[in-house]
């Protein structure tokens, strides 16, 4: 695999703790860690000094993290932190951000904070485990038991409920706003076409899907949870209905993280055994980024920088690395 390997272009980084999320703040690689710290370049930022980071979202150059200390914290590229929310010790279960606005949940409590800092609160019927902003307007999708609620924080009207029986975990909305997709307890994805509420089932996963990524053109959704990266087509008006997904990166190991390149139809795929591959969607060509290292944990975070020149990854055993693509 020597000619198809980028392993010599990977610099190893010091994480030391379960990596919850990876991101680039300006140009600085940032790793959100289970011990409440953010490893920013070679500095440690104590974002949650009394807790663990449970979830994270990137908004521009700010990394937003939610912890089991009940706090929602924004970290800037200069390492400055700002506490944005405090749920008095209730765990922050989910966080989402878009253009200066953010939303978080703690149990049934869902809050949305707009770019001006005005916070609105809504109580979900059951714990809201996944949040996503819709691309247009100021609207939040909150996944819970038996469906997803679409909430306009600035309207008094009750949220629109997209119903489907079962426990919905993470939520994501296609970049064009046409489709809403959740991962489910039953090793499946569920989708709705938002225009008419039509349901779609995406099944066949041996495990739960906990990482999804949209391609830059919004036509494809890459998903974890199988021994191949399953990529669903969303270009046509029916989305993946009646179509087979593409598969790439087939290996006898469970895929734990996926991240589409921001400019090309190339998806970075991380596995339970610590291996990282780049897969090109067109011809399924593969390039090795990091070799299998089962003792060093499963890949738990993957992120490209804005231009797609660098890929940051971390594992649940505290290993991390930074790939810089050769020019």
């Amino acid at each position: 695999m020597a000619e198809n390997s980028l392993t010599q272009h990977v610099a190893s980084l010091e994480a030391g703790e379960h990596v919850i999320a990876a991101a680039f703040l300006s140009d600085e690689p940032a790793l959100a860690l289970a011990n409440g710290a953010i490893r920013l370049g070679d500095r440690n930022v104590a974002a949650h000094p009394q807790g663990a980071i449970l979830c994270a979202a990137l908004d521009g150059d700010r990394l937003l993290t939610g912890g089991d200390d009940g706090r929602v914290v924004a970290t800037s590229p200069d390492g400055a932190t700002q506490m944005i929310g405090d749920e008095k010790g209730k765990w922050i279960d989910a966080i989402a951000a878009r253009e200066g606005a953010l939303a978080w949940s703690a149990g049934k409590i869902v809050r949305a904070r707009d770019a001006k800092g005005i916070v609105k609160t809504w109580t979900a019927p059951t714990s809201a485990r996944g949040l996503a902003f819709l691309p247009k307007g100021y609207r939040v999708a909150a996944a819970h038991y038996n469906g997803v609620s679409l909430w306009f924080p600035n309207a008094d009207a009750a949220p629109q409920v997209m119903e489907w029986k079962g426990s919905h975990l993470d939520a994501t909305v296609s970049p064009d706003g046409r489709f809403l997709v959740t991962s489910m307890q039953e090793n499946a994805l569920h989708g709705w076409r938002l225009g008419d509420g039509r349901n779609m089932r995406m099944t066949g996963y041996p495990g739960k899907t906990r990482s999804v990524s949209w391609s830059h053109d919004g036509h494809w959704l890459a998903t974890s949870g199988a021994e191949a990266c399953v990529v669903w087509p969303f270009k046509e008006k029916d989305g993946p209905m009646g179509k087979a997904p593409r598969e790439c990166g087939v290996r006898p190991h469970r895929i734990t993280q996926v991240a589409f390149h921001p400019r090309a139809l190339v998806v970075a795929v991380g596995y339970a055994d610590g291996l990282v591959l780049l897969c090109r969607l067109g011809d399924a060509a593969e390039i090795l980024v990091r070799d299998s290292a089962p003792d060093e944990g499963a890949i738990s975070a993957l992120a490209w920088d804005k231009t797609g020149a660098r890929l940051l990854f971390g594992t649940d055993a505290g290993r991390a690395g930074l790939l810089t693509l050769p020019a």
Binding site: N146, Q185, E186
Partner: protein, 339 residues
Amino acid sequence: MSESDKTPVTVLTGYLGAGKTTLLNRILSEPHGKRYAVIVNEFGEIGIDNELVVGADEEVFEMNNGCICCTVRGDLIRIIEGLMKRKGKFDAIIVETTGLADPAPVAQTFFVDEDVRARARLDAVVTVADAKWLAARLRDAPEAKNQIAFADVIILNKVDLVTPAELAEVEARIRAINPYARLHKATKCDVAISEVLERRAFDLDRILDIEPEFLHVDDHDHHDHDHGHGHHHHGLKHFHDEEMQSVSARLDGDLDPNKFMPWINALTQEQGPKILRCKGIVSLKDDPKRFVFQGVHMMLDGEPQRDWKAGEKRESKVVFIGRDLDEDEIRRGFLACAA
């Protein structure tokens, strides 16, 4: 990850006022050197600062697999996922349920969720019962009966508040429902922590025999001596609970695996809602190993265990605890699996 690397989870149940919080505080305040993550429903009752205490909402939901009794605790899946990010910061997890909770969804969470199962193992269901009020609750509160039927360990608390005759009666009523749990009589939940934690009650390797507990000599029970009513269990009155019973069946020699496996699967599928717990050690024809299984409602977990020893009598035993079980039908079905 091997079973012994998984974080043990003890489920603490008991009807309102039985003394769950007393037991929890006792566990946490003893100098055992262990660190616990405690999942509670109400904050504020636990007087220990340095433990990791997590609030839960007891969100029970039905799995989308067409099985109505397959309910799990969604909040528990989420909390265990979060706690595992703090791996190394605690040694064990204790889940305290509300007084009206059914233990089944908690237990089933450990059968159903692959991620939970990969990292944590259910250690035991421990039920605290009030010696003075349990008999009345068994009549009017189905939750209390569920909790007794489900238990691996029962702490019969507040025995200082009842007469020896009342105690004998409540013990007999417990045994009518669940003769297999370990039962400890206590005042202010003063039982040895080793009797509550690290029981490995769901560990198939630890299922060594299946005998009603009152046949065992209960030498851990120091209260017998304190209160002067020891050994009464030899003279237990026999009660029959109209609704909840245990059914056991035994067979000398081997079972035919081609008959037994379909039978046990069909039985737990068809009668799963009625069967709370089941357990068995069976001898399968031509198999040198004991086959052990246990289950909760429709969930079954079974595997070959150790070899039958030389000179050990090959026999098969099964036990079911449940509601309105048809004893004759279960026995007939089991005996028909003979090789």
